[in-house]
Amino acid sequence: MSERLLTIDNLSVTFGGLHALRNLNFHVDRGEIVSVIGPNGAGKTTFFNMISGMVTPTEGDIRFKDQSLIGLDPNQVTARGIARTFQNVRLFANMTILENVMVSQHCRTRQGIFGALFHTRSFKREEEEIRAYGEEVLSFFGSRLVGYRLHQPASVLSYANRRRLEIARAMATRPEVILLDEPVAGMNPKESEELTGLIGKLRDDWGFTIVMIEHDMGVVRDVSDRVVVLDHGETIAQGSYDEVSTNPDVIEAYLGRPAEEAS
């Protein structure tokens, strides 16, 4: 069995009385692709916000490589090796595409004001490195984000390309785990099929471990090693896609109770 990367112990979060997450237990091993599914408002995004340090849990513990993440700022979590994308694409819209992937390497680089002012040799080397690495992650998506695009602002990109750039930006932080929040939302079937393949590659070629929130069950079926189902902040099922998709609780959560039982 491979190394356990992320362990979530008995995690709860409440927003003024609303239990967004309740007693959640969860783990991710290195090299896995885990999908988190659940109806709208189930608490999936909250779950990501908590791992990435944007929301503090009321109870419980998050451990990454045996160190607790509780109390860390989002930038420290990213520095530890967990990167994320956002459900409602949040790029640095007025920075160029290249700058978007350069700036997200911030926590992997050192140069400060001194190097910038005097253009020291190490400053130039570092700039060259992050530029090269930035272009490398961008070319993961073929020719769409490179070439003349490099110096265009992110705001001119199409919706699908913005989503791709978000993933590239997360990759550029050189993480071990990438959290993808609905990566194919808003894409057409052809595009989501392609991206599904790329998610597989993220693990196989780049060695990232992936946790993905997704509504598109086709995508979930195609790439996940394991599926976790949340409903009303609670885990209602875990297991392989086939196990989960036939689980009566899951069907009930998605389709609602059969009418006669509900009444």
Partner: protein, 610 residues
């Protein structure tokens, strides 16, 4: 798509609209605004006060100009057609002339009513400029009938002219614009030009253009005509040359281009080195003020323009620089008086600026947006009031300030005399050059990108691994250091510091310079400082148009509002900022130029459920 492209090249015009197909409400609105503007300007007493400054002697003074532009501009704007995507502009005709004339007429009624009221009522109690002087200026001392008739005729004429501008072909409008810019520019720069001509021994040229021996300044009629002709020539001859040069520059290889940049910066540096020798005292002094504010504005540009921190208490760092230099160098500073040389003191100034930046920055930097603005506003005042307080007056001199600040000497090698504007100009220019270099290098670096990311979206920047508190603090401290340099030079220049020199108004003026110039753009900030501080003057310093000093803040405010509405990206915009503010237009343009990508898979198949 093809038809759109076609339109871009040869705009087709829809037939002119019938004369009476007017937007009457718009005409009434513009007329009313024009009338109110004329009354307002009259009651600020601009026509009277500025009558002492001529544009063309003896035809036109700035006082009358302050009124005349109103009917012209509104007469022009009333029929400005906004052409949206997919719409076609109409051919212009008599309709536009009529609308312009009507707006002119309605505007003139404002002055007619004012003249009547000035004559029959006395409202000098609330309206201090309500007096017979104003009446005389408006009626030319020839009685109500003459005054009213004059303004009606002139306003209608100017409104008509405004409308006519829509009809004239570009080939006529452009030279006219250029000619008026050249003439107005020459008038505005009159005293600087006078200085320069004396420096270069070209008095005869100056005197051939400007009216001799007139204490009200202004061009002579022939001078105005010569300059207007020059404006025309510019458009027809030089414009084409400049455009060609630009094109060559843009097509030049990267390497050649940077060579050109080097050459032009060398020329710039040489100009800064040589020019002060030929300029007179007054102009040099004015440029020193511009430099001091430029230094401040460059610092604030890093804080507001790059990192997006709206710091309204920026003057605090100017004060820290000024007082630190004063205390350390002046022999008569109370309490603590080490009498260091200025160049040693400047090191302490940097240290104090860093401390002050951290001290003010640390508590406020976690706040965002408006909250931060308000808290920094408070800190700006707190620093000034602390300096003044009894508690600190043992060191800072309280309201008495610190006097006898010696010249700025540099390691005993060289001394910049505070009373000699030429020497001060070299000193301030050196620091401005340093600030420009720092801004330029930081903008294109790891930390500069982090600042921009924070400005774009702070929480995402944080999630992408940027320690936003650190990044913002660094921006704050760099800005503080640049401001403190300005303060230290200011202290050495004036020879004394008083707490009243560091009022909140300075913060506001610097912010206006940055906004009007173009936030986040170095060239914009330089242009903003030259135009605002150089021409209109700083909070306590007169500019080239010293007659305007009373109306300076009014014009600042008007300019700021106008800028925010019409050109939020500033005089010389930062490409990024302007994109941010004109997102839609930009996307449209980009689409027309086929730069926005369309999803490659095409429309077949529906979008996956969200």
């Amino acid at each position: 798509m093809t038809s759109v492209e076609h339109n871009l090249q040869t705009p087709e015009l829809a037939p002119a609209r019938p004369v009476l197909d007017q937007d009457w409400r718009r005409i009434a609105r513009f007329g009313a605004i024009g009338a109110l503007a004329l009354i307002f300007i009259s009651l600020t007493d601009m026509p009277d006060k500025l009558d002492g400054r001529m544009i063309v002697e003896p035809l036109l003074s700035m006082g009358y100009f302050s009124l005349l532009w109103v009917p012209f501009l509104f007469g022009n704007l009333v029929t400005r057609e906004v052409v949206l995507e997919g719409m076609v502009a109409h051919r212009k005709g008599v309709r536009e002339l009529l609308a312009g004339a009507l707006v002119g007429l309605l505007s003139s009624l404002g002055l007619v009513v004012l003249i009547y009221l000035l004559d029959t009522r006395d409202l000098s109690e609330p309206l201090v400029n309500w007096n017979s002087d104003l009446h005389t200026v408006l009626t030319f001392g020839e009685g109500n009938g003459y005054g009213m008739g004059f303004w009606i005729a002139v306003c209608v004429g100017l409104g008509l002219l405004g409308g006519l501008f829509h009809l004239l072909p570009r080939l006529v409008v452009q030279p006219l614009k250029a000619a008026s810019i050249v003439v107005l520019g020459a008038v505005v720069l009159e005293s600087a030009l006078n200085d320069l001509s004396e420096g270069f021994g070209l008095e005869s040229l100056f005197e051939s253009l400007f009216k001799k021996g007139s204490d009200r300044g202004g061009l002579s009629v022939t001078g105005a005509l010569v300059l207007a002709a020059f404006g025309f020539a510019w458009v027809f001859v030089l414009n084409a040359q400049v455009a060609k040069g630009k094109q060559v520059f843009q097509q030049a290889k990267e390497r050649n281009r940077s060579a050109t940049m080097t050459v032009s910066s060398v020329v710039g540096v040489a100009l800064v080195l040589i020019l002060p020798m030929y300029l007179g005292r007054l102009t040099n002094d004015l440029l020193v003020n511009v430099g001091l504010f430029l230094l401040l504005a460059l610092g604030l540009n890093i804080v507001v323009g790059l990192a997006g921190i709206l710091d309204l208490g920026y003057v605090a760092f100017f004060a820290v620089g000024g007082y630190t230099a004063a205390i350390l160098t002046s022999p008569s500073s109370p309490g603590f008086s080490p009498e260091l040389s200025w160049s040693v003191a400047i090191i302490a100034v940097v240290g104090m600026a860093i401390l002050a930046g951290l001290f003010i920055g640390a508590p406020v930097i976690r706040m965002r947006g408006d909250y931060l603005a308000i808290v920094t506003l408070g800190f700006g005042e707190i620093i000034r009031l602390t300096v003044r307080s009894d508690w600190a007056s043992g060191v800072t001199g309280g309201a008495q300030g610190i006097l006898n600040i010696p010249n700025a000497d540099v390691f005993g090698l060289f001394s910049f005399k505070g009373t000699d504007p030429q020497q001060m100009l070299y000193l301030v220019a050196a620091f401005c050059a340093l600030a420009i270099y720092v801004s330029w290098r930081l903008e294109n670096s790891r930390i500069g990108r982090a600042w921009m990311a924070v400005r774009e979206d702070e929480s995402v920047a944080e999630a992408m691994g940027i320690n936003t508190v650190n990044a913002k603090l660094q921006a704050f401290v760099v800005g503080a250091i640049l401001a403190s340099f300005s303060g230290a030079i200011f202290a050495a220049k004036v020879g004394s510091v008083f707490e009243i020199s560091f009022k909140i108004l300075i913060s506001i003026v610097i912010l206006v310079v940055v906004i009007v110039g173009g936030m986040g753009r170095i060239a914009g900030v330089i242009a903003g400082a030259l135009v605002l501080i150089g021409i209109l003057g700083g909070p306590n310093q007169p500019g080239l148009l010293s007659e305007f000093s009373e109306f300076k803040l009014l014009i600042y405010g008007a300019l700021l509002v106008w800028m925010m509405l019409q050109r939020p990206e500033g005089l010389i915009p930062n490409v990024r900022r302007s994109r941010e503010l004109h997102q839609d237009e930009f996307l449209q343009d980009a689409w027309l130029r086929k730069q926005v990508d369309e999803d490659e898979a095409g429309g077949e198949g529906e979008v996956a459920p969200a």
